[in-house]
């Protein structure tokens, strides 16, 4: 039975109706001519654009206009370090990496150690710090430009952020955060102030800021767009991705606390195989005979969906998989094996990249061109 749809920065439940989210959040559907313009200016295409995984935006047209006019823009995204990173966490970061590479712009990555500490009753400060350091290495492995990327923890960069934060905070009442985030009388006053700190990086440059992130973060950008101009900054732009469906089915999002729903970046090859084979929700039939006869349903099959969203870039190959699965020629076990191989190849490469990224951490956080500029502010 489907749960009621619920999407906040801290909870995603139910079968997600993305068109309804666009309406409820007041964002715009990503039109095909906007996609074409991104691809034209980028001189390349991205799997998320082609497959509709990036589906909604705010002011993306203005960002492209500014870019064409030579005004430029900058990128901002983030990560809340509350538990081991899984493949779903990587999606917006992978798209961000592509945008930085194609548009050659500055990128700010906020590690919201304060948010996660304040939000998770069971986690103490030291656990969060440890997770933050681990996450930073996973992020650095994606290969951002070390002189154009600044990765920072809120608790470490707070001195430069706090004056902005209180200017934002002065303009936002309890009523507003109550309405936007569902805060109530029992919400702690640290979490209540936190939204200011997620908004601050949108003021890091006097250019338009583009945020690639999952749509559950949009609540923050609504507040930003209410206060930005009165503080002398641009309203933030955003480009939203959907949630990578949990292994266990098309509802909600992967949860770091339910290990069967997700593939962690640290999972070994055997674990990946076991999880996909055991938990990946299948659109296939109950028996081989029936499957051969009736075929599978790729629309609800998580293995197919993951290939479509992340792992099978080749349009022709994907179409063959789709058609073969639908006709019954490709069995569930075979489809899952395709995914297992792709994931394991991806994770092997990720582990290598992590090793290579270690010497670059210093640059991203302190000594790269952009990082140094930010610390001198």
């Amino acid at each position: 039975m489907s749960k009621e749809q619920k999407v906040t920065p801290w909870e995603v439940e139910g079968k997600i109706d993305y068109n309804r989210l666009i309406k409820e959040f007041g964002t715009s559907a990503l039109a095909s001519d906007t996609v074409k313009k991104i691809e034209k200016l980028a001189g390349d295409s991205h799997i998320f654009l082609r497959r509709g995984f990036v589906f909604s935006h705010r002011d993306m047209d203005l960002v492209l206009k500014d870019y064409e006019a030579g005004k430029g823009f900058f990128l901002y995204t983030g990560r809340g370090p509350s538990g081991a990173m899984h493949i779903g966490h990587l999606a917006p970061l992978l798209f961000t990496k592509w945008l930085q590479e194609k548009f050659n712009v500055n990128l700010y990555i906020e590690i919201t150690d304060d948010e996660k500490f304040l939000q998770k009753p069971q986690l103490d400060y030291e656990q969060i710090q440890k997770q933050a350091d681990a996450d930073i290495l996973d992020i650095a492995a994606l290969g951002f430009d070390p002189d154009r990327t600044f990765i920072f923890k809120d608790t470490e960069y707070i001195k430069q952020m706090y004056p902005h934060a209180i200017k934002i905070g002065k303009k936002v009442t309890f009523s507003t955060v109550q309405a936007v985030f569902g805060f109530n009388n029992q919400t702690n006053i640290g979490l209540m102030f936190y939204p200011t700190l997620q908004i601050v990086p949108t003021f890091f440059e006097k250019k338009r800021c583009l945020i690639p992130a999952a749509i559950d973060q949009d609540n923050y950008w609504r507040i930003q767009r209410d206060v930005a101009e009165s503080l002398g900054y641009y309203k933030v732009a955003a480009i939203h991705n959907k949630f990578l469906p949990p292994l266990t089915g098309m509802e909600g999002k992967m949860s770091a606390s339910k290990s069967e729903t997700a593939i962690y970046l640290s999972d070994d090859e055997k674990t990946v195989r076991q999880k996909v084979m055991k938990y990946a929700f299948s659109g296939g039939q109950a028996t081989i005979e029936e499957h051969r006869k009736l075929g599978g349903n790729p629309d609800v099959d998580v293995a197919y969906q993951w290939l479509s969203i992340l792992f099978e870039e080749d349009e022709k190959k994907l179409k063959t998989i789709h058609d073969d699965y639908k006709s019954g020629k490709l069995l569930t076990g075979e489809l899952k094996q395709l995914l297992v191989d792709k994931i394991n190849a991806f994770l092997r490469e990720h582990k290598n990249k992590m090793e290579n990224a270690k010497p670059l951490l210093e640059k991203y956080m302190y000594t790269g061109k952009l990082a140094k500029e930010m610390w001198n502010k």
Copy 2:
């Protein structure tokens, strides 16, 4: 007509019933044997102790016990830079200075630039910063020990404070700050988080912290005492002074926004004379003849009260003034002139001390022994 008594960190109204405050805030009256013990350990007496201007406390006995046992303690007080400093603002600072001198302990002085920015709709960030710098010089003029005193602005020292602040914030709900400070749905989320930052300095050392401050600040310490031990620190101790009555009468406290109620540290001699002569509420009679016959009432006479609280340290001289005024021998104009002379002498000296303090600012804020230790944290 007397207004209803109202005492919060941001509002003091009506005739203050200090015994009622002790009951309402749950503090303890400062007993004469505690006063005697302070005087014995200090090897000296202070006018505020002798005249009952310091009247209430929390755990002062435990502070003295710790001191006697060689565990020591530390002092913490502060200043909100929202407008020109007047003589009423100096009272807790003067007592703090005496305590530091007599007990030879570390002192932390928090300049709450964030609080005042968040609380005052009409003041912008730059105005607050300018006021903060002016206030720091006024405070430095009191002559604190430059190697045992750390004066810091919240926005400047936030990096060291923020990790503590979120640990406190995680334990305090909106319900609590609503009940304690009267916050409501329209309160901004900056001000809502601010109490954590006023509590943080009580954790600067793993010793008992003693706060000399006006009793309107006690709300913060109630919250501190609720959370301190669970975070591994002592419950804070406090010693409370009354409010120096406004020139205009015995109700409420001096207001920086009503210039006739206060003597500013920057007032010149002529202004002081004019304000006292024109506005100081008099306990005298309407005519000289009646005054000679019926005498004045020192209990409601602000000039007498100021002499008693701050300016006439000599017990015998004060008694003579009291008796002569009550008998009608001393006229209102003569009494006011005594006060004018005392205030002007005090302000002349203060101005000299400000000049001498200028080269010490660096030490209080950055390079003195304690300041350096705090920046290296």
